[in-house]
Every structure is written in structure tokens, then in C-alpha cells.
Symmetry: C2
Subunit: 338 residues, 2 copies
Amino acid sequence: MTKREKNFPRMAEVAKLAGVTVMTVSRALRSPAKVAPDTLKRIRAAIDKTGYVPNALAGALSAGGGGKTITALIPTVQHAIFADTITGLSAALRPEGYHLVLGETGYLSEEEDALVAAFLSRRPEGFLLTGVTRSPRTRDLLKRVGVPVVETWELTNTPIDMVVGYSNEKAAHEMTVWLAGRGYKRIAFVSGPSRTNERARRREIGYRRALKEQGLPVLKIFTIGAPAAPQVEDGAAILPEVLAEKPDAIFFTSDIYAVGAIQEARRRGIAVPKELGIAGFHDLAIATVIEPKLTTVHVPGREIGYIAGRNILARIRGEPAPQLSAIPFSIVARDSTK
Amino acid sequence: MTKREKNFPRMAEVAKLAGVTVMTVSRALRSPAKVAPDTLKRIRAAIDKTGYVPNALAGALSAGGGGKTITALIPTVQHAIFADTITGLSAALRPEGYHLVLGETGYLSEEEDALVAAFLSRRPEGFLLTGVTRSPRTRDLLKRVGVPVVETWELTNTPIDMVVGYSNEKAAHEMTVWLAGRGYKRIAFVSGPSRTNERARRREIGYRRALKEQGLPVLKIFTIGAPAAPQVEDGAAILPEVLAEKPDAIFFTSDIYAVGAIQEARRRGIAVPKELGIAGFHDLAIATVIEPKLTTVHVPGREIGYIAGRNILARIRGEPAPQLSAIPFSIVARDSTK
DNA sequence: TGGGCTTATGTTATCGGTAACATAACTGAG
DNA sequence: CTCAGTTATGTTACCGATAACATAAGCCCA
């Protein structure tokens, strides 16, 4: 790649073909009303002929703005809830002509730091980040440059800029209380990799608080290790250990684990929900495919993405946008609990 | 956004702070070996102090290249197979410092045309496209600009540039033959929205060819209408109509439909696979969650993305890359067929 | 000790556009 | 008929960086 773009025609070529200067072509593209109809026609024809596509990089540089892109950093698209978020965001962005640049952090905080810096160099006009816990360095950087930032999937009173999400603690609390209300006494909790996943951590806090309030025993808490997208097998593998605690219900921080556990319970001849209640989190598609259908917490992945997108766009336009948007979750009672 | 970027510090500020010209800063960043160790230290300090992040837009413009981005256009991230492709692509790109710009076409060809043009303005260095059928306008445009393009999820002898995928026709053919081999005589076929989904179309062709070869009757072919990501309910809803054809097996173009059908069959008291065999396509996670576990065609979503990424990068570097990469699929026999 | 070579840094032009101002041609009212 | 106001287009400077070339020290060996 030396000093000239591949085969992209430039505005200058269009201009020459139409017998005008580049400025007139530029105007024809961004404010056609200011160009004589006849000239406009010639320019349009020239654009067609050359297959000209404006260079947004150059345009943005000159206009002094960003490139009409929003950057989203999520742990992985493999997880349906984040895919939902992306779809929601994408839906918010499209009508305004904004593009989505996607980065996967693999649940790794260092990776997020690296990606923020790297993506910043592309001068996005906004950021969607997952979670609310991050390195001070990244916080500072983002604050300093003053780009609209939405943190998602959790709430906090001290966002970098804005938050869109729900309280994972409250959600887990609510589910635990609900389970207690169904008569379960020994409710176990199986967490995702809490070291790298703050959402899992908050859920554990909510679970503990609920047990204390209800006067129920806190059983040994199990944590699934791998900092990656959850796998059904993980849930199956951990079930035996959890059973050693003699729980009458198990609350998993992900439907995926819960499904694995149900399958494993079936293999072991344990009746769900008769002998053992099982609850998940997220309300994924598999929750209604597994038999018995899974009791879980429905979380609004798509709305989070959409609202986040709307808020970022509002900020860009200089309109007011809420610092905190709480999106409601809900308990979905199905057949895996009594 | 007037004439100056928000709060992003510029190289000039770093330069002043370090007591050098911008050129020296630029060098410190891209070829530090050419800068005196002492100067380098001062520059690094200045960068830290200012929180400077290079403006890749300007850099790319000047260097005459693209912005180290690859654009991927997929129907939707909602569908796990495309999420897989994205993950694979992302994995290939990351080590080389390339960024991924994502567009969702919603299975709409016109949307794809619009997105290709829009994304082209960002001067990506490569494109990943889904499928091999597209408007001549888009084909021409992409050919003309000479950007590396990989078309995916199908094969063709006349790609715009490169293809990475497998033959959907062959895959469906193989599954149909396999079903015939298990003794099924009246094999029905339920297609996804074939008007907007060429993959579904090709699978139908494979299915028909197999039946003809096996001397089996072609039953009425059912097509699920909505041009969107498949839903479990669609499969359940269509089952009664399909049953009117008295099939002894049904081959769905997606696991998602197949799962819905299995659930509906259970509701109706039809024994799967005893009275009715059911097969899907894609080998999604739900295929092993549903009971009986689903017989399906395993397709290599992640590999497709990864290989596509590798090929694009090879092209960018001027290395040879295969015009056609066939990635193997496989039949996965489980319990939903006899 | 001086000219050739290396090393470190600066200068100038340029990437492909757009903002702001300048100018030329045309319009219409007094 | 003239001059102000409009409309259509051109000129110049600049966005933030990098390539290519230029220059100034420092170094070495004959």
C-alpha cells in the first residue's frame, strides 16, 4: 500500500468528468439544493459512470468529526444476550446512518483496555461497553476524550457517562425470594466465572442477601471456572458436587448451566422439580426447549442495546439523555420449579 | 461538530510537550528504532500525560490505505451460525490488529446493496459477505474497487473474489439419502424463507435430487414465510400442514424449526422417531437439549469465519489465497430419527 | 583532519475531502 | 439603466497524520 488508494475513484475524477471542481461535487453530495439542476444531473451521471463512493475517512477528518461509527465492546457474540444487545443497538443506529464497530473482549478486562485504546484511534462517536467495572486507565481515557459512553447490563451511580441496565443483585434477590416463597429451604447457588464476570458477582450478593432475610442457610457456593461463554456441559459437570450439599433447589447464573444440570439430573434419575427445583438466568431460547421448561429471570437484552443506542445518538446531537436507565427484568415461572 | 475534534489531543500537542516536531512523534509511534532513546522517552511521557490516541483516520488517509478494518455483512447475529462466523472472523483478525465492522442485512438483498455502498465509504480493506447471490450492481462495485471479498456459507465457481463454504445442495442431498437409508419412504421437506435465503433454496434442490435418485416421492414442499431469523414456533405451527402429506420423516432446513416440530409432535402424541423421524440443519446447541436429541447436519460456522479472515488477510498482504475453500459438513445422527 | 557514512530530526507536499470566504453571472425593483 | 441581492461555482486553507527528501551532527578510518 504505497501512496494511493487501490482502485477507488476520487472525487476529482468525478469532477473532471462533469466539468466542475471537486467542491461542486462535494456540494452535490451533501446539499444538492445548492447545485444547479443541470450540473447536478451531470455530476450524478459522472458518479454512476465512475462508481464513485465517497471517502468517509477523508470527509470525517475534514469535517472534524468522527466517522459516524459507534463502537460496541461485548464479551462475546456467542452468548445470545449480547447478540440481542447488538441487534438492539444496530436497530437504533441504522436509521441515523451510523455504523457499528464490534469488539469481543472474551470477558477479559485487559482485552477491554486494549480494545478501547485501539478503537479510540478510529474516533468513534460513541461507545457501548458491557458491565460497569473497568480499569481506572480506561475510565480516565474515556472521560477525558469526552465521547458518549454507555455502560450496560448493570447499574451504578458512578458511570463514566451513562448506564443502561438493571440490577443483577436485585434480580437474583428476587428470584431467590421467589424460590423461598415456593417452599424451597436449601437453595444452592452456582455462579459463572465471578472473577471475570461482575454480573455473576452481583447476583451472588443478591442471593446471599435474600437467604439472610429469609433465614435460610447459605450453602457452599459453586463457581464455574472457565472465563468463556457458558457451556451446557459445565452445568452437567458441576451437578454432582452441588448435590453433595443436599439442596432442594439450585439457582444457576445462566440458563445454559441450568439446562445442563436438568439433563444430568435426568440421567441420574432425579426428578425435576419434584425432588430438585432448578432455576436459571437470562430466559434464553433453550429455556423453553428443555423439559421441564426452565424457570428463569427474563432480562431485556435487546432493549438494553436499543436504549443505549438512542441515548448515545441523543448525546451526539447535544440533546439530553438520562444518566441512568433502568430496564425491567422479570421472573418467569415455568416447570423446573414447583 | 465544527472544525475541531472534541477533546482528542493531537500529535502536535504531544510534540510540543516533548520538544520535537510531529514527524518525530509519528516515527516514535511507528518505527521507534529510528528515534533516539532519550527522545523516545520524552515522547512516551508526553503521550501518557496528554492521553494521546493516534487518529487512525488521518493516518490511513495519509498512508493511502484503508483503516485496518474488515467489514462483515451477515443476515443477523441472532442466528448462532452467523454469530459463530463472526467469532471465527474476529479471532483471525485480532492478532493482526484489524477491526471488525459489522452490518446486519436482515436477509434483505436491498439492504445488503445499501450497506455495501455505505461501508465502502469507510474504505475497509476486506469484505465478508453471506451467500453467493447478489445484485449485479454490488458485484460490479466490489470488483471494480478491487477490495478482497470473501463470500461465505455456499460455494460457487464464479465468486466476486473468493468463497469459503460448503455445498448446501450436497449437504441436503446427503441428509436425504441418509434418511432414505434408514428406511424412510415419505420424506417431507420444510424450507426456510427460500425467496430471501438462497441456502434454503439450494437445500431444496439437493433434497429433490436425492429423492429422484432414490425413487421416492416428492411430497408437497412447505416454506416458512417470514424473512427473519427462524423461530421455534414457526416449526410447531407448520407441523399440522406437513402431517397432511402423511410423511414418515420431515427434514427441516433449520434445527430451530425441527425443535418446534418435535415439541408440537409431543403435544399431539406423535412418537418421534417411532412414528415420525425428524431431521434438522446446523447442529445448534438446542439440538442436544431437545428430547429426543436431534439428527442434523453439522456445519462449520466458526471455521468459515476464521478461514475467510485468514484469506482476506493473505490477500491484503499480497500472498496467494485460494479462490475456493470448501469446508466439510457432516451428518450427525441422534435420536430424532430411527 | 577531512570527506564519506550513519544517525537523528526537520521540512515540504500530500492523502481526499469540507468550511469559509470570494467571485461571477443573473435577477428585479426603483 | 443601475445597484443591491440572489444563485451557482470557484479558491484557499486546513483536518491530522505520513512519505520522501533534506539537513545537521556525530563517527570512523585513511
